[in-house]
Symmetry: C2
Subunit: 331 residues, 2 copies
């Protein structure tokens, strides 16, 4: 008899939420519908392009931790995914990105204009799904998240290529643009499941810290991961002038020559691969990729600690273990 391969935490979470996520996915597809053909064409191109649906899965999983289960969480999970996809459509226009999830970005197929407007449509549909639950408290959590996310994107934009950006600025950017939606996804899941105040706060903190870890890892991956392995998209953030922690730390600790090398490539869409490689070498010399990963680990541990107030359960173990997934991506 062959031994079954050990399932990763993310695979186990996928299995544990499979039946509920089938409902979420059906709702997502039905609400991407419109009599205006371009809307579902563009929306489905993005939504069906193999994203992990981590955020709605967290909403469902958070609800399953508590007694009431996943009734209204299905709507909130679909709404969270729509909000996320609306953000991706607008971000790709703002960042002038050509690719998304390994395919040409929607804006390369349907144009910037349609991407902006379909993003607005998805946001409107997200709020309609929330309204249908009648749960005004959860609506408050997600509408606040929506405003904060946009604010975070503007803050990031205002800091583009700004050599004086501090680690505190960066922490604020990643909290607002990424972690707050993870937080809201988990918090409204807990609320749907009937969590008490302590449970709600635990899941909110879990989501926030997981989101922070997730974005820190993303920003390390953009420079090839902790090993600095150069690949096709290595240096996108550098070329776009995004002030992420590996760059911020290197600028504050590097020599004049190193600062000049970074500044020469930062925000230059036509920076060469050789320039990117030089910058990555500087990040490695100052261990800023490793140190950014250490911060990701600290947030990941904090996410896991947040779960400790909850009674032990299979789902609690899964949510604890899946935190690793967010960090191990970088190796």
């Amino acid at each position: 008899m062959k031994e079954a391969p050990v399932a990763s935490p993310i695979e186990r979470l996928l299995t544990a939420t499979e039946a509920e996520m089938a409902k979420v996915n059906a709702l997502i597809l039905s609400r991407a519908h419109s009599h205006v053909d371009m809307v579902p064409e563009l929306a489905r191109y993005l939504i069906e392009s193999g994203g992990k649906r981590l955020r709605p899965m967290l909403t469902v999983a958070a609800a399953m931790l508590f007694a009431k289960g996943t009734g209204t969480a299905i709507n909130f999970a679909a709404a969270v995914e729509f909000m996320h996809n609306a953000t991706l459509l607008h971000d790709d226009v703002v960042d002038e990105s050509d690719m998304r999830r390994g395919k040409p970005a929607a804006r390369m197929v349907w144009g910037n204009k349609a991407s902006i407007l379909v993003g607005d449509f998805l946001l409107g549909q997200a709020f309609m799904m929330m309204v249908e639950t009648g749960d005004i408290a959860s609506l408050g959590v997600l509408s606040a998240a929506s405003a904060v996310m946009a604010e975070g994107e503007v803050f990031q934009l205002s800091k583009t290529g700004d050599l004086t950006t501090t680690p505190a600025d960066y922490a604020e950017v990643i909290r607002a643009k990424t972690a707050v939606l993870f937080q809201a996804a988990c918090e409204v899941g807990a609320m749907s499941g009937g969590a008490d105040e302590a449970g709600r706060q635990a899941l909110a903190r879990y989501g926030l810290e997981l989101g922070n870890a997730f974005q820190l890892v993303d920003d390390v991956l953009d420079y090839g991961g902790q090993a600095g392995t150069l690949g096709k998209n290595t240096g996108d953030d550098l070329r776009e002038g995004k002030m992420t922690l590996p760059i911020i730390l290197a600028l504050s600790e590097g020599s004049e020559a190193e600062r000049a090398t970074i500044a020469a490539a930062l925000g230059k869409m036509d920076a060469t691969d050789a320039q990117v490689a030089e910058v990555v070498a500087i990040l490695e010399a100052h261990k800023t990729l490793t140190r950014t990963m250490e911060q990701a680990h600290a947030h990941a541990r904090s996410a896991q600690q947040a779960l400790e107030v909850l009674p032990p359960s299979e789902m609690r173990t899964l949510l604890n273990d899946v935190v690793e997934f967010s960090v191990l991506r970088a190796y």
Copy 2:
């Protein structure tokens, strides 16, 4: 003793809603705030640029028709104005407009990226203000409006420069992109004021028909008004390829030569003023500006009829009279 000049209906509505609109304006200013400087700078540039605030004024006025008055209507009025301004920011990016309300468009000052993101922020803030009322039914009306508006913009985009666009397509575009927000503004005002079902429906119809009239007039004004008086911005819609009723009717009734003249200028940003003048002459030959105005009048009358189910009051008279304002702009 000098006789006071007769106030126009819009001036009388402004006076009648002045105290309540002061609260709406204070709320608008406080909610355009953000610790990210670019957000209030851009938002206030647009919001304070002398728009008439017709939509929030309708919300307030609709509430004042009914017994409960304007309690939650203040929040909904501010939210409606934020939704409208978010739409303007995104529309100006989509239409590549240089000017808005007689000033350079926000995107010309802060760029397309900031305009997209601050639009998203205003939408998030709008929903937060709605959530604070705890009124889930009104939230449903406005979130549905938000999705339909975006859908209408996509539909308009998909019909850009499409010579086969029908009057029915056009009716759907203006309903979705313009009239639905007027409808929602009036409907949630009535709901806030404590209207019964008949009152709510009356105000919804009033807003919808007023909005339809308003957009028809806008589309006539874009060709210089009913008199076809050529001005600085005459022909913007033509150059952007927008399929508005005056053009649709002329294409369906014109000669081959006239169709060719229109097609040669439609959607061409570099169409000359002489080309625009030629097209306007064709619209006049087929009386399509006048006939579009006749449709505007029909919608205006329908808006006024909608009010007839309500008991007579000073505010009912004002709302009846202000409909004229939306139509008289074109002369």
